[in-house]
């Protein structure tokens, strides 16, 4: 009985605290947007891209007068790309009374967090999570400004079948929702084109010695190897493959494309194929925006910088159109279209983009990229 009383009291206290938080948020007349992604951890580089993209959007919207006089405020939150940590971040967003989220970044972290946002009518727009399942649950307030694995995987699979024409295709993944999800898509597309992979195996995320696997790849005679996962493991795979003299063409998804891959693998990255969102930073319409990034010594070419910019922008445009009410904002997102640096965006009923293009790039040892031939 005592316990129940205590429980009731604590519920009451929480409710009061929640109401106070909501009050203080309203009083400050700012519209807060949580920017949730990895600030620490092995893939924090992608978090950087997300943060600079979202912050630039907030800055430019505020400089243009905000939303009907109200300023946008970005609140950074760190999920370290951990599926365990993401719900904690999501609950903090709920408790802080924040109604809009740009994030999360990794599919594994986004999935558990999105359910919490949906339950609490918080609008979430991820600029980076590509796993199909994220938008497949019929959630009304979950969106993304990037394509899905089922768009990216087939792009990679078709490129492998039509251009690389492997004698022996091997597919490796990191057993995470993102890596394995996209590896499955590549396998399905390749098999549809009549190429049966000689190997389809998972590695442990965080492992560092892959020499046994490399020897096995050599043994299998793999001449094209697709890796589904992030850059830390691919960097080690490339480095150890070079060490053992494994000559094969490697390919990976957008989660491997950043400078740190070069730091780990050195010259072994030369000729790696990567599917990335189309590089919108070279579009003439974005020249002023790209210059604004360069003035702040920031790099706008990362795959998630402009998608994050667009995520903030679609939220801000919707608030401007229908007011600061997340339910109405979600409805507006579903039925309108938006002009953003990554093109004219419109969302399907599931919250996916109606159209999104992945492009195959070739990665070089100076961390630059050129469209693949």
């Amino acid at each position: 009985m005592k316990l129940r009383q205590n429980l009731r009291r604590s519920v009451l206290v929480t409710a009061v605290a929640g109401a106070l938080a909501a009050l203080s948020a309203a009083a400050s007349a700012d519209i807060r947007i949580a920017i949730a992604g990895p600030i620490t951890g092995p893939v924090a580089q992608y978090g950087d891209m997300q943060m600079i993209g979202a912050e630039m959007a907030i800055e430019r919207i505020n400089a243009a007068g905000g939303i009907k006089g109200e300023k946008l405020v970005g609140v950074k939150m760190d999920d370290a790309c951990e599926p365990k940590q993401a719900p904690t971040v999501a609950n903090k967003v709920v408790n802080d009374g924040i109604k809009y989220v740009v994030g999360h970044l990794c599919s594994g972290a986004t999935k558990p967090a999105s359910a919490i946002y949906d339950e609490n009518d918080i609008v979430m727009v991820t600029p980076a999570a590509t796993n199909d399942a994220i938008t497949a649950g019929g959630m009304k307030t979950v969106f993304r400004t990037i394509g899905k694995d089922s768009q990216q995987g087939p792009t990679a699979g078709r490129f492998i079948a039509a251009t690389l024409k492997p004698k022996a295709l091997a597919i490796i993944h990191d057993k995470q929702s993102y890596g394995q999800g996209i590896a499955d898509q590549v396998r399905v597309t390749a098999e549809a084109a009549g190429i049966k992979p000689v190997m389809f195996e998972g590695i442990n995320k965080g492992d560092t010695d892959f020499s046994a696997l490399i020897t096995k790849l050599k043994q299998a005679g793999a001449d094209v190897i697709y890796y589904g996962g992030y850059h830390p493991e691919l960097g080690l795979l490339l480095r150890q493959a070079a060490e053992q003299g494994l000559k094969a063409k490697w390919m990976g998804p957008e989660g491997v494309g950043n400078k740190d891959l070069n730091a780990i693998a050195g010259d072994a990255v030369e000729g790696l194929y990567v599917t990335l969102p189309q590089d919108f930073s070279s579009e003439p319409a974005n020249a002023a925006l790209v210059q604004a990034f360069k003035d702040k010594k920031q790099d706008p070419t990362g795959p998630f910088v402009l998608t994050s910019y667009a995520a903030v922008q679609v939220i801000a445009d919707s608030i401007a159109a229908v007011g600061n009410d997340p339910k109405k904002v979600a409805e507006h997102l579903h039925k309108s279209s938006f002009k953003t640096p990554i093109g004219e965006l419109a969302f399907t009923a599931s919250g996916d983009l109606k159209d999104f293009k992945f492009v195959v790039y070739e990665w070089h040892k100076d961390a630059s990229k050129t469209p693949a031939q």
């Binding site: 951890g41 560092t208 096995k216 050599k218 003299g245």
Partner: protein, 313 residues
């Protein structure tokens, strides 16, 4: 199928090289676990973090000495990194014992164990705050192979870094065995491990012996850390955990408390993991490695080379 046999032998040779270099690192770290356990009967869970600190000191020194720019000869830079890592990490090993374990000596067994876990978390966060939570990368400094021969159309190669790992480990193991077997300090260590109370009565400074085991264990782990920095080339503040668990497993497999056991256990675990991922899907390698541990412990509860412990009353 007729292609299988001529290919099998070279593949086996290559996997043997892979497994030996992986197992060498486990062995270097396992010795730290086993020596501390052998003498004070406690598991130093912060030992994985000591290894991580060794790797960091090595990488920081490499960068400071300008390894990539090539102003100093590479051998000198590597020697410098090794010495710096050993000295700094040994100091950490000594301090950890002094701060976290010595004040608790004589208390209930669980107390220093909790203190060790706390120390491990502290060191992880301490490095994370000081060095950042992100991966630190080392460019390949020693590229190339010591040898690369083609056997039956399959190239078998031993890279310079892996040769270095195996070579350095073998030398250190021999030196350690000689030192423990022949020197005064080694004799004191063995005496303490047999009966600490009696050793003290006979005039051995047991506190010094305990400090010495921590310093020695840390120095060996530091060598492991620098070698991993060189060959793998990617470290972060969390690498100590997984490697620590694996090395601890190796120590238990070989018989915790036994130095030759730790060496054997490390190499065996490395080979098992490697051959498991060679002949089964890679995701099963840890399953196989830990099943082996369970099997060994079922039939030899004290590990492969461990002596049955007589409970002291």
């Amino acid at each position: 199928m007729n292609e299988f046999l001529p290919n099998f032998l070279p593949q086996l040779t290559q996997q043997l090289i892979n497994g030996l270099s992986l197992g060498s690192i486990y062995a270097l770290i396992a010795i730290g676990y086993t020596m501390v356990y052998g003498i004070i009967g406690m598991i130093n869970f912060a030992h994985g973090e000591i290894y991580m600190i060794g790797a960091y000191v090595g990488v920081v020194t490499l960068t400071a000495l300008g390894a990539a720019s090539g102003t100093l000869p590479l051998t000198l830079v590597l020697a410098g990194a090794l010495v710096a890592a050993i000295v700094v990490t040994a100091a950490y090993g000594w301090t950890v014992e002094r701060v976290a374990y010595r004040p608790l000596r004589g208390g209930p067994r669980l107390v220093p164990l909790i203190s060790a876990i706390g120390m491990s978390i502290f060191l992880q966060n301490y490095v994370q705050l000081g060095q950042g939570a992100r991966d630190v990368s080392v460019p390949p400094l020693l590229p190339g192979n010591l040898f690369s021969v083609e056997i039956g159309g399959f190239p078998v190669s031993l890279s310079v870094t892996r040769a270095l790992i195996i070579g350095v480990t073998v030398v250190l193991m021999i030196a350690l065995t000689l030192y423990i077997g022949r020197s005064r300090m080694g004799r004191a260590c063995r005496a303490c491990s047999e009966d600490m109370g009696m050793a003290r009565l006979l005039g051995i400074d047991t506190d010094r012996v305990i400090s010495f085991t921590f310093v020695l264990g840390a120095a060996l782990a530091a060598v492991g850390g620098v070698l991993i920095g060189l060959s793998i080339g990617k470290i972060n503040p969390f690498i100590g955990f997984v490697v620590g668990v694996k090395a601890f497993t190796a120590a238990v497999l070989g018989g915790i408390g036994s130095i030759p056991g730790a060496m054997l256990g490390g190499v065996l675990l490395g080979l098992t993991e490697t051959f498991a991922s060679a002949f089964l899907p890679t995701e099963y390698k840890d399953v196989v490695a830990f099943s082996l541990l369970v099997l060994v412990l079922l039939f030899r509860p004290t590990g492969l080379l461990g002596k049955p412990d007589i409970e002291k009353v």
